[in-house]
Assembly symmetry: C2
Homo-oligomer: 296 residues x 2
């Protein structure tokens, strides 16, 4: 979340504010994927131990990048922010060397659950298995030349991977703020399904099919604009969607299906998981106040 | 340069290939500036010693970010690539821990001049003094709210700064490849002005006012597309240029004048400086062969 110092909690948790940030993150994610797609698949950078002799590191080249970048970001207090989740286990990262920002406490954080929901391992999986091969497809023809499977640009590729992964992680874990916001709007609707845990019912309360359908249309429109061809004068060249992968900068279908098949479902898992723990450590008296609000 | 393994030197040094890379870098630079403009100016991150007590580092917060990121990238062999220049002095950075990629030798590298032209300190200056204040101007009104001068997002802002600076540095130092390409096309035109050093004459040989004028138009068109407003459906909203800073995501004028006043002139300096040293360590016999080519 763009935690602007001095903003009120109610404003930060307004659904409007959260939606604007989610919509803005779409631009970031699309553009970062376009940047990644400049380089080849470079499968070797995802294989554990492929650089073990040189790096003295048993993970993959990408995991080494994540570890090194996240080690620095941890020192710069990145992971003290409630919307930031590291891919490297926190106990392997250094402590912040500067004081954490004093941020408003926006989320309910029960003592037993730390550091809240973290689905980064699932993000890493779908990104490596589905997204990278999709946007760097070797069947893609760029500027009339077949794209290589491996172009040796391992550093450039992994740098972009880290940026995409961090943006996807923020987008998906933002679900916690969506859940908190919706919970506070009508706690009595959620409480019965939390006390008698019913993930499906909770998912039903937060799912808005019309909003999701609109998101996918918006996303395709954005990818068409950002990933489209421009001529030497910077004028947008009209290209049919199915030609974009071949002629433009990105495969439109991969971006849309990434949101449909992975980003939206994983966000929902984060949202439901957050709600299931929303009453942990909450005193019974507070729950009763919320339930009375139903008829107030 | 996107050093695709196996590509021939002649192809990599073709002006077409170089121009395509320069045009592609415009997209990257515009988008990264848009990303940076999400955060406040945060002047404190550019002040040397402002975080000295916490960081035990006498430079600025941004210089600390550059040092840490570049230390890692040095280990990952980034600065063994001829188009990559670190902002941190190379003797303060670690050695690569993996073998450098075997890259074709595209540039003339006389022994006495290492690591070729480096104008990064000038890039850092104009970026901090002119560009960051321009794109984060406090007179800018975003979504009806005045933008803060300091939003406390020091890590997010500096992370984007590093990315912008690295892209600008690649763009500007690409001038070396432009020079090499143009030199090899007609060495006899350049040789007299190198032997009897005449920077103005060399600048004249590589300056194409029509190309520069076209670049600025293209750049504005791109900034209009990437930085424009989109509605919730992802449809582009038409906004007058002068309103873009207030309503869109970026100040159009800052981007165009950045290229006009800084990127293009600095690139030219790199190009001329490269040419001035193009004959260092070159045997007289080779120079004679080139001069004979004039009449061949």
């Amino acid at each position: 979340m763009n935690f602007t110092s001095g903003a009120a909690v109610s404003e930060l948790l307004s659904l409007d504010h959260i939606r604007n940030q989610l919509i803005r993150l779409e631009d970031t994610i699309i553009f970062l994927l376009i940047e990644r797609a400049q380089f080849a698949y470079n499968k070797k950078i995802y294989q554990p131990g492929a650089f073990q002799d040189e790096l003295n590191f048993s993970g993959s080249w990408l995991e080494w990048f994540l570890f090194e970048i996240e080690s620095f970001h941890a020192k710069a207090r990145r992971y003290t922010s409630p919307d930031e989740h590291a891919f490297t286990p926190l106990d392997k990262l250094p402590q912040p060397i500067i004081k954490p920002q004093s941020l408003p406490s926006l989320l309910h954080q029960p003592a037993a659950k730390h550091p809240s929901v973290n689905v980064n391992h699932r993000i890493l999986d779908f990104y490596i298995q589905q997204i990278v091969p999709g946007i760097t497809s070797t069947t893609r023809i760029a500027k009339g030349k077949a794209v290589l499977e491996d172009d040796g640009n391992y550093g450039s590729a992994a740098t972009r991977d880290v940026e995409v992964l961090q943006a996807l992680s923020r987008r998906i874990h933002f679900g916690m703020f969506v859940s908190e916001s919706k919970f506070l709007e009508a706690p009595h609707d959620f409480i019965p399904h939390i006390l008698n845990p019913n993930p499906e019912a909770l998912a039903g309360l937060i799912t808005k099919p019309a909003v999701e359908a609109k998101l996918l249309i918006r996303l395709a429109n954005k990818a068409r604009v950002y990933g489209g061809e421009m001529d030497a004068d910077g004028k947008v060249v009209e290209v049919a969607d199915e030609e974009m992968a071949a002629r433009g900068k990105i495969d439109l279908a991969t971006i849309v299906s990434m949101y449909k098949d992975w980003v939206i479902p994983l966000t929902k898992d984060v949202e439901v998981d957050y709600l299931l723990h929303r009453l942990d450590d909450v005193p019974q008296s507070q729950i009763e106040v919320w339930m009375k609000g139903k008829t107030a």
